[in-house]
C-alpha cells in the first residue's frame, strides 16, 4: 500500500518535471548568465537611493493602510463565520464567501483594481484590503471558535445582550490573537506589496521593474537592497511587538 503510494507519487513528479520542462542541463547552461547579471549589479548606483527609499516608503504605506482597514473590515466577517457565535443561517454563507474570495491572491486583485481605478498606490491599497480582509476574517473566526465557553456562559447568565456577550465574553479572549494575526499579515503584505508595483499598483516594485526594463542594473540593485532592508526592518519590529502580545 505504502509502496504503491510512493510509486504513484514518483510517477506524478516525473510527469510534472517533464511537463514543466525542468532540465538541470539548461539550468547549468544558464548559470553564467546569472553570474553576469549579478556582476553587472555591483556596485549599486546610490544616486537612485532617494527615489528607491521613496518607493519603499510608499510600499510600506500601502501595506500599512491596507492591513489596517482590512483588520477592521474583517471583524464582522470573522464573527459571522465563527461556528460558535454566528447564527447558523448566516454562518454557512459567510464561510462560503470567505473561502471563495480567499482563493484569489493580492496580485490578481491588483490587476483588477488597476484596471478599475488606474495606476498608482491606490489600487495597491485596495488589493491589499481585498485579500487581507478575507484572510484575516478566516483567522479571526478560527480564533473565536477556539475560545473557552465558560466565560461566555457567565456573561450570558448576567442578562447581557448578544453584542455585550461578544464584547465582554468573546473579544477579551481573542483580542491578543487578533492583533498578532494582524501584525503577521502586515509582514506578509509588505512582501506582497513589493510586487504590486510590477502590475502598476505603486511602490518599490514599480522602480525595480522600471530599472530592470531600462537595463540599469546598478540602479535595480539599489532598489533590491532597499527592499531587503525594508522587509527586514518591518519583520523585526513586528515580531518584537508580537512577542509582547502573548
Amino acid at each position: 500500500m505504502k509502496r504503491a503510494a510512493l510509486f504513484v507519487a514518483l510517477l506524478v513528479l516525473a510527469w510534472v518535471a517533464w511537463d514543466t520542462g525542468a532540465d538541470p542541463v539548461r539550468l547549468a547552461r544558464g548559470l553564467p548568465w546569472i553570474a553576469d547579471f549579478v556582476r553587472r549589479m555591483v556596485p549599486p548606483d546610490l544616486a537612485v537611493l532617494p527615489a528607491a527609499c521613496k518607493g519603499a516608503l510608499l510600499t510600506v504605506e500601502i501595506a500599512l493602510l491596507g492591513t489596517a482597514v482590512a483588520a477592521v473590515l474583517a471583524l464582522p466577517l470573522g464573527f459571522l463565520s465563527a461556528r460558535n457565535v454566528a447564527p447558523t443561517p448566516i454562518f454557512y454563507p459567510a464561510r462560503a464567501v470567505l473561502n471563495l474570495f480567499r482563493s484569489v491572491d493580492t496580485l490578481v486583485y491588483a490587476l483588477i483594481f488597476v484596471a478599475a481605478v488606474g495606476l498608482g498606490p491606490f489600487p495597491g491599497v485596495l488589493a491589499v484590503i481585498a485579500y487581507t480582509t478575507t484572510s484575516l476574517a478566516k483567522l479571526y473566526s478560527e480564533a473565536i471558535e477556539g475560545i473557552e465557553p465558560g466565560p461566555v456562559d457567565a456573561i450570558t447568565a448576567t442578562g447581557a445582550t448578544r453584542l455585550q456577550i461578544l464584547r465582554f465574553g468573546v473579544l477579551p479572549q481573542v483580542l491578543p490573537l487578533f492583533l498578532s494575526y494582524v501584525l503577521y499579515r502586515l509582514e506578509t503584505n509588505i512582501r506582497a506589496a513589493t510586487v504590486l508595483g510590477f502590475v502598476g499598483a505603486g511602490g518599490i516594485g514599480f522602480y525595480l521593474q522600471t530599472y530592470l526594463r531600462m537595463i540599469d542594473y546598478p540602479a535595480a540593485s539599489t532598489a533590491l537592497l532597499v527592499t531587503i532592508v525594508m522587509v527586514m526592518v518591518v519583520d523585526a519590529l513586528s515580531s518584537r511587538l508580537r512577542a509582547r502580545l502573548v
Binding site: 457567565a154 447568565a157 448576567t158 442578562g159 465582554f168 477579551p172 479572549q173
Partner: protein, 263 residues
C-alpha cells in the same frame, strides 16, 4: 421564587438529562442538589436560566417566565439570577473589577457599555460587592493572577452585582480544597441569610450539603428521587440517591455529618 413544572431536557443525540421534574422553591431557601455523576444536576441548573434549552415544561423565577420568554424578557429574567460555576468562568485577561462589573451588564445601557462606559453608581455597587467577599484590595488585578479560591469569590461578587433574587451554583467548590470549600460555602450561606437570597447549589459532597442546606433535593437519572430537609436524609435515602448502580458511592460517609463545617 422558583417554579419548575414538567421539565424535560433531551440533549443531542438523545440523552434524557432531565426527565420530568416538578419543583417549587420558596424565597430564602438554601437548596442543595445531590446526585451521582450524570444525574442531571448541571443540566437542571442551566435550564433555570436557559443556558440549556428545555425540551418541554416550564420554568418561572421570581415571578418572571424563563421558558417561552422573548429575548428581552429572557435577559430581564436572567439578570435577577446570579450563577456560579465550578470553573469560576472569569474573563481571565480582564481585571477583577471588570469581571464584577459584568454583573451589571443586564442593567446598564447596552450601547455605552460596549465602549466601556459604566455609570458611577454601578461601579460603586461592583466595588461594594467585591468588598463583601473580602477582595476590595484586588480590584485592579488581572483575574488570572488570582488563586482558585479568590477567583470563586470574584465570581460570587459578580453574581451579587446583579442584585439577584436567586443564585445558582453548580458545584462551586469541586475545584477547591476542603478549607476553601468551607470558606466559599460559608460566604454563600451568609448571603443566603443576610439578604434572604434563594440559593440552589449542586454538590458532590454529601457532608457539605447536609451542613449548609435547608433543603436537599436528590436527583437520580434526571428525576427528583428525594426532596426534604437534611434531617430526613437517612442512610436509606443516601442509598436511594447514590446506590444501586456500579461505582460512584457518596464521597463522605453519613456518620461524619455533624462536624466543624456547620457554623
Amino acid at each position: 421564587m422558583i417554579e419548575v413544572a414538567g421539565l424535560r431536557i433531551v440533549l443531542p443525540p438523545s440523552v434524557v438529562a432531565v426527565d420530568g421534574v416538578d419543583l417549587a422553591i420558596q424565597p430564602g431557601e438554601f437548596v442543595v442538589i445531590l446526585g451521582r455523576s450524570g444525574a442531571g444536576k448541571t443540566t437542571f441548573l442551566r435550564a433555570l436560566n436557559r443556558l440549556v434549552e428545555p425540551t418541554a415544561g416550564s420554568v418561572r423565577v421570581a415571578g418572571r417566565a424563563v421558558t417561552g420568554a422573548g429575548a428581552a424578557e429572557l435577559r430581564a429574567a436572567r439578570r435577577q439570577i446570579g450563577m456560579i460555576f465550578q470553573q469560576f468562568n472569569l474573563v481571565r485577561r480582564a481585571s477583577v473589577l471588570d469581571n464584577v462589573l459584568a454583573g451589571r451588564l443586564g442593567y446598564v445601557a447596552p450601547l455605552p457599555s460596549l465602549v466601556g462606559r459604566v455609570p458611577p453608581a454601578d461601579r460603586a455597587l461592583a466595588l461594594e460587592c467585591l468588598g463583601r467577599v473580602g477582595l476590595g484590595h484586588l480590584a485592579g488585578r488581572r483575574a488570572d493572577t488570582l488563586s482558585g479560591g479568590e477567583q470563586q469569590r470574584v465570581a460570587i461578587a459578580r453574581a451579587l452585582a446583579q442584585a439577584p433574587s436567586v443564585i445558582l451554583a453548580d458545584e462551586p467548590t469541586a475545584s477547591l480544597d476542603p478549607a476553601l470549600t468551607t470558606e466559599i460555602m460559608g460566604i454563600l450561606k451568609a448571603i443566603n441569610v443576610e439578604r434572604r437570597l434563594t440559593l440552589v447549589v449542586s454538590q458532590h459532597q454529601l457532608e457539605t450539603a447536609l451542613a449548609y442546606a435547608t433543603r436537599i433535593v436528590g436527583f437520580r437519572r434526571g428525576r427528583v428521587g428525594f426532596d426534604g430537609p437534611p434531617s430526613a436524609v437517612t442512610p436509606a435515602v443516601v442509598d436511594a440517591i447514590y446506590g444501586g448502580e456500579e461505582g460512584n458511592p457518596p464521597r463522605v460517609p453519613l456518620d461524619k455529618r455533624d462536624n466543624k463545617e456547620a457554623k
